[in-house]
């Protein structure tokens, strides 16, 4: 028996998320319990006060995201975690955070839907909601982890992207990964890159909280730092004050969307596996990508040249990454624990030139390697 | 009067919480290996407390007609 390495843990995905948040510098959590995300709150209720942070259980999910935005405006990195029903409730305020450009991280541990659905079972049914759940055109960043270690890393990345781009970032986990206990070796804290919001370097009188410049990402002053600016969910101009001027509105909303579009290469992350000579491309994410990987290995063993593109970033959608590799394949298999939400986007990205075979499951059970394997090797 | 009440326990529903055992004023029950045992049925006064407190709908105390009426 080896002397145990203190950096090795058997952690649940949800624990890794909480630990990742702390590693990212998160010092505020506001939430409302809901299966299967509750452990994130429970761990942070214990850990945050121990390091001088704050944990608060709010009266509902709407209040939780409100508090998170408030804390972030005060300069503290803030997190909330929920599942489908709570994610639906948070939508109005998520839109506020997008519009007011307040960095924060929202974890949605997906469970079976719609409605109360299957609270203790797994699903990936909130992919489109994560993109479009709030009203009005808006950009958003959505990441989806496949493992416990990745949950840790991605939580950190979620905070980094939120801070860098002044945007709420959704960590879209699923019951399978969130409740999976897995071996994790956590990285040396010194090796972890932490990004903080860009601070204004002008005097308060000159500060434009929604300035349109060459970066498209305005510097952000925290409340109480002498800048005394105004934050609103109304359409506003560079000063942050409401306006009805169509030109100014247009300029701001375009910048808002552009700041993510133009940085999509920095944001979008995919991982490919055995894609060089593949004839069948599997595109998967989250827990399902684990099964997909095994299915690819098994298919190769049976002589079918399969490859996997695993989406770590879901939104912005990795269309360019798919575009680069799909041309030569005979078909594309898209397994997901929903009725084909990603498959539809894959069809868009690939112009429906290739058959896109959907492997869907919505009964709360994870998709097995074999179910994907069958679709890979089947003819037609 | 005492002797007339009939007590049944539905072991399919009983969850062995021991509430009946603890609160019967007449100590009619004792806890068995898995379920309560009716050990002193003759002491039962048909006060119905056990039935009302059993959270699992597992106890039925039946009181013969005339007694019920005279209550």
């Amino acid at each position: 028996m080896e002397i145990p390495n203190p950096n090795i843990h058997m952690w649940q995905g949800n624990v890794a998320c909480a630990e990742g948040a702390i590693a990212a510098g998160c010092r505020f959590f506001a939430g409302y319990p809901i299966t299967p995300s509750t452990e994130i709150a429970e761990v942070l209720s214990q850990k945050l006060p121990a390091i001088g942070g704050n944990f608060i259980q709010m009266e509902d999910e709407i209040a939780a995201i409100g508090a998170v935005i408030g804390a972030s405006l005060g300069g503290v990195k803030a997190l909330t975690a929920t599942s489908g029903p709570g994610f639906s409730l948070k939508q109005e305020n998520i839109g506020f955070a997008v519009m007011a450009e307040v960095p924060c991280v929202i974890v949605n541990v997906q469970r079976g839907g719609p409605s109360t659905g299957l609270p203790t079972h797994s699903a990936q049914g909130d992919v489109m909601q994560a993109r479009w759940g709030t009203h009005g055109d808006h950009p958003i960043i959505v990441l989806s982890p496949s493992s416990v270690r990745e949950t840790y890393d991605m939580t950190i990345r979620a905070f980094n992207l939120a801070e860098k781009y002044r945007i709420p970032v959704v960590l879209l986990s699923d019951e399978t990964v969130a409740h999976l206990t897995e071996k994790i070796t956590i990285p040396d804290p010194a090796s972890i890159e932490i990004i903080d919001r860009k601070k204004p370097y002008v005097s308060p009188e000159k500060y434009l909280p929604y300035q349109i410049d060459e970066t498209d990402i305005p510097a952000m002053a925290n409340f109480g730092e002498g800048f005394r600016y105004h934050v609103t969910g109304l359409a506003h101009d560079e000063t942050g004050f409401p306006t009805n001027n169509p030109e100014k509105i247009k300029a701001q909303l375009e910048r808002l969307n552009r700041k993510i579009q133009r940085n999509r290469n920095d944001i979008v992350e995919v991982e490919t596996f055995e894609t060089e000579d593949m004839e069948v491309l599997v595109i998967a994410f989250g827990a399902t990508a684990r099964s997909a990987r095994r299915a690819v290995i098994n298919a190769r063993e049976s002589g079918v040249k399969a490859g996997l593109l695993r989406m770590k970033t879901i939104w912005p959608f990795p269309d360019e990454e798919i575009e680069k590799i799909y041309k030569s394949v005979k078909k594309i298999v898209v397994p997901e624990m929903n009725l084909g939400q990603i498959a539809h986007e894959v069809e868009w990205a690939t112009r429906r030139e290739k058959p896109v075979v959907r492997v869907n499951k919505i009964n709360g059970e994870p998709i097995t390697p074999n179910e994907i394997y069958e679709s890979i090797i089947s003819q037609g | 009067m005492k002797k007339n009440a009939e007590i049944t326990i539905n072991e399919q529903w009983c969850k062995s919480c021991e509430i009946c055992v603890a609160f019967c004023p007449q100590k009619v029950y004792e806890m068995g290996r898995f379920y309560p045992k009716i050990v002193r049925p003759e002491d039962c006064t048909a006060c119905m407390l056990c039935e009302k407190l059993c959270p699992d709908f597992a106890i039925t105390v039946t009181v013969p007609d005339k007694i019920e009426k005279s209550q």
């Binding site: 299966t35 509750t38 429970e42 209720s45 259980q57 009266e59 109360t116 | 609160f23 407190l53 959270p55």
Partner: protein, 271 residues
């Protein structure tokens, strides 16, 4: 009485843990319904989400298990659309006073003819023991591992301030009181609230070293005090005591009566 006639027997045994008080409350509700002789077809029982909110699944009425905290909103629509139905809402402390707190005070304000039975176990039972707005200060929950820093709501007081017509509190142990209050609530025209203090051994009792359900009921037996007796006592003397009794019982026009006036006026004006 024969509880079984009101139960969906094929759904039994229910999911509640051994020693959970929820079953005791449900029985009281059924006894009152039986006593009142209500037709099962005319009863609608509505809940949100939680262990307590699983109640409707077990009873042979028109039953509706809604979203967390929202039972009263569905009930409001149903009661207005169907004044002929007896509308009963069952709710947990979390369901009624955390996420559903606003609907609770507004239903009270409207004095709509609905009875709410709140199974107050001071905790979120269903999700495994997180702190609730009624968890006493200092108590442990899975999200207050160092003890709850907050002060709990007094549900009955809140209901009263918001305008309910009938407000009472019992423990699950005091079945006689509970029956009486629930009956008064069910027969009251207007918004009526019965708060029942009930043990959750699994998610609350265990963590707070209060023992099993049976122990928690024993505590209720030994530590309850009626409002009348409580009146003379100091806060110190009342510490750890459960104050039970009828807090409000008043006559005032309910929502239906008032809206019927609107309908009368409107029909006349628009003839």
């Amino acid at each position: 009485m024969d509880y079984l006639q009101y139960l969906r027997k094929d759904k039994m045994p229910h999911i509640w843990c051994d020693g959970c008080g929820h079953g005791i409350v449900l029985k009281s509700i059924l006894r009152v319904i039986d006593k009142l002789g209500w037709d099962k077809n005319n009863i609608a029982m509505i809940s949100g989400i939680g262990c307590s909110s699983r109640t409707p699944g077990y009873v042979d009425f028109n039953t509706l298990h809604t979203t967390h905290g929202r039972g009263l909103t569905f009930a409001t629509g149903l009661k207005i659309a169907r004044p002929d139905l007896h509308v009963i809402v069952v709710s947990g402390d979390g369901d009624a006073t955390a996420i559903g707190g606003n609907h609770f005070i507004h239903a009270a304000r409207r004095n709509i003819d609905i009875s709410v039975i709140i199974y107050n176990n001071y905790i979120y039972g269903m999700t495994g023991g997180q702190v609730s707005p009624t968890t006493p200060g200092g108590k442990k929950a899975s999200t207050t591992p160092y003890g709850n820093p907050d002060t709990p709501f007094d549900i009955s007081r809140l209901a009263q301030a918001a305008g309910a017509a009938y407000v009472a509190r019992s423990t699950a142990f005091h079945v006689g009181k509970m029956d009486r209050y629930i009956e008064q609530a069910f027969t009251k025209t207007g918004f009526s609230v019965v708060e029942v203090l009930t043990p959750c051994p699994t998610s609350y009792g265990r963590r707070n070293k209060e023992g099993r359900g049976v122990d928690m009921l024993m505590y209720q037996k030994q530590n309850s005090i009626g409002i009348e007796q409580a009146k003379g006592k100091t806060a110190e003397e009342l510490k750890g005591k459960y104050i039970t009794g009828v807090f409000v019982d008043k006559e005032q026009a309910d929502y239906r009566q008032r809206y019927d006036e609107v309908i009368k006026k409107a029909s006349k004006l628009n003839k």
